[in-house]
Symmetry: C2
Subunit: 207 residues, 2 copies
Amino acid sequence: MTTAGPDRRKVRHEAKRAEILAQAWLLAHRDGLAAISLRDLADSVGLRQPSLYVYFESKLNLYDAMFADGYRQLLTFVAERSYGGDPRRALARFLGDLVQFSSDDIVRHQMLFQRTIPGFEPSAETFALALEFYEVARQMLAAAGVTDQRSIDIFSALANGLAHQQVANEPGGRRWVRLAGRVTEMFLADIDQRRRTSPARKGSRRL
Amino acid sequence: MTTAGPDRRKVRHEAKRAEILAQAWLLAHRDGLAAISLRDLADSVGLRQPSLYVYFESKLNLYDAMFADGYRQLLTFVAERSYGGDPRRALARFLGDLVQFSSDDIVRHQMLFQRTIPGFEPSAETFALALEFYEVARQMLAAAGVTDQRSIDIFSALANGLAHQQVANEPGGRRWVRLAGRVTEMFLADIDQRRRTSPARKGSRRL
DNA sequence: ATAGGGAACCTATCGCTGATAGGCAACATG
DNA sequence: CATGTTGCCTATCAGCGATAGGTTCCCTAT
């Protein structure tokens, strides 16, 4: 009974694929994301290099799977946290969590938020996961009363900037993570200020 | 008299080196920074691939020269502009110029502000140019009354975030460049706010 | 029960990459 | 004028991702 499933082969295939993916992350941490060698990777899962092509049609396809994997981790990460209560405090926690998420795994940050691999572009199917995340972020902002595009652009720059500085200057640390609260206050104070001075238009131009 | 200088050879050497460097930027724009081929590069300057090693001891050494070149461009760029007058308005212009500088050349931005090449680390000598720039930025901030480390960290995240979003989402455009003024106001308003509420300490903690 | 077909994996090999070895000619200097 | 250095060459190396083609094994259909 255990041996003859209808798609026993498919299960095994997916399991091996997942094993390769896990080892790929491991090698990426050891040698760098762009420096993964298919021969090393094959060795680490008991295969020869060409056999990897049974599971991934190219190296870029492997990167695509890692990209998707990373965004799934991010979606799970934010889904596990509850951002209830005051939407403004929730936004601050959300921002801090994002920076922490990047700081926790610099290679994953590079994969998701920097274009560090020469020819790599995520596939449309995979990119949908990224869009899913940005939709979550958009709703967090909307709950805090931020809906105009310019303010959204600024918030995305804030998040990316904090994460980048953290990863680049103190990987694994919390120096920029800790600034998330203050930065969110700063951001929301600016939103309030602009609403006060020009309530008619969504984004006012000054300076 | 023209042919037999004491270091005529050195001049020729430096000229050829500069020519190679210029072609390297060209190829980087065409194929991507990490995808430069030494054979292509050699072809484009009338040499065979191993002859490049006369001018650069390795490919990473070539990247180091490009890194230095890019920071020299940045230092020249900010030196050519005058940031006189009101230091707060100057800071806003400075920030806008930085984002514009990145938007103007995405490959150069990648080289200077992202770690996109696998094994590359700038040499100490080259990195001094980067430190020189950060000193300029520090002085711009100091002139506007910003001296505490946390605020400097935030400003660097702002600059990097705006530049990154601009380069990643709309290379060559001005969508995030235009936000520099508003973001600087937001930043300085936060500085003022914190000075008002807790003038004793340099950085207050809230939220 | 077994023949057919596809999945999984292999060896061998391709073209490309950056780097090295060793040789030759041009030039600057004692 | 001899000598050492610079500039550039050809030939070659090991490593890379990718492909071709063969073999074995399992699942399914007759």
